[in-house]
Amino acid sequence: MEEKGYNTFDCPQLEVNIINKQKFMTELAKLLAFMYEEDRQTALAMYERMFNDAADESALLQLLGSPTRQAVVIARVYNTKERKLQVESQSRRDDEESEDTPRFVLAIDSIYQKIQVKEPEERQVADGQFSLFGEDQFPIKPEEYRPFPGKAAAEPAEEAEVLTPPSEPEEELAEPKDEVDDFIQSMTILNSELPDPEERRSEPETGESEAPAGEPERLAAEPVKETEAETEADPFILGEPKAQPATVRKARPLALILFVILAVPVTIVGLVLLLIPTLASLGLAAGAISAGALALVGAFSGLPVFADILIVLGAALVILALGLLFLWLFIWFIGGAMAGLVRGIVNLGGQWCYKEVSA
């Protein structure tokens, strides 16, 4: 098996690690489909670098847990709208060298810091062993990943406190029994169920309100503020139009008089025309239901042969069914056709005879 230019046939353990790493990365890439493509590539490159820096990939995999767990950790700090605003604001003031590190980068970085704290000594290769990983192995192009920011590396504790709940124990990664695991257990996230980023743009912001109780107040408070800002910046994202100026409906007297003169006789004629099938339906329904009831009674009143009873019962059922159909037609003519005719003419009058004027 060839992986990035070197052979692992003589090292079964390494092959297993690479397969697990590949599975992990593939699954993680699928689960991060909700992110923008650039952010997704950045996150994947950071995890790739994490694997490259790790001395023991199986230990790293054990520390990271499942890809779903990592996706949940990222999803809790990733907000598509917020990220879009952040990128837009960065592009506007790129000359000021404002480096707003995305939250998900900080989250991954905090994971990386914790892992580094947990196994600093395990990265040493024992004297009796040799390492297949050189310093220049797995070269990654600079544009393929966003390096762990110096600011975040310099102040990992401060940022990590903001990004992770304070109640989270330090052994979160070692013992994956925490609220993330509870969330994973309670919510089955399928890849097909992950929303498309384009769809997420048009959805109203509700996800942040479902943040767990342990989330810092900053995370819970920010989306409200930024949603308001975003409404002003780009109302199309929320799918809600801006507040329209107040308008008043003003009647056009001439058009109104003409419409009433024309609409009243037209409505009466229409109602009379509809009354004919309505009454016919009522008559047919009454006749059919009466005949069906008579046939039903007649079937059990003196017919000596069971076959004859069956025939009369069948005929009664068919006649009663037709009676029910005619009865429903009568109701539909009254409640649907006639009421719809009147409602339609009134709406037409509202459109033709009134105009909206700004107050």
Binding site: A307, D308, I311, L313, V318, A321, L322, W328, G335
Partner: protein
């Protein structure tokens, strides 16, 4: 209204299907329309009712025609 239509159509189709099956089974097992008519006629006097309605309709038509001619 659409829901009402779907419910009514479903009930009507089921009733017509059951009625048709019942009629077919009745015929296959020896049912006779003449025997049914004779029994119901004996009970509800269908022939006499039919004659009475026919006579009434004929009289009504004659009355209308004579009134039209008189006018």
């Amino acid at each position: 209204m659409k829901k009402g239509w779907s419910i009514v159509i479903t009930i009507v189709l089921i009733a017509i299907l059951l009625g048709t099956v019942s009629i077919v089974v009745g015929h296959l097992t020896g049912g006779s329309l003449d025997r049914i008519y004779s029994v119901l006629d004996a009970r509800y006097h269908l022939t006499e009712l039919q004659q009475a309605y026919t006579q009434y309709a004929s009289d009504l038509v004659d009355t209308v025609v004579s009134a039209w001619n008189a006018a």
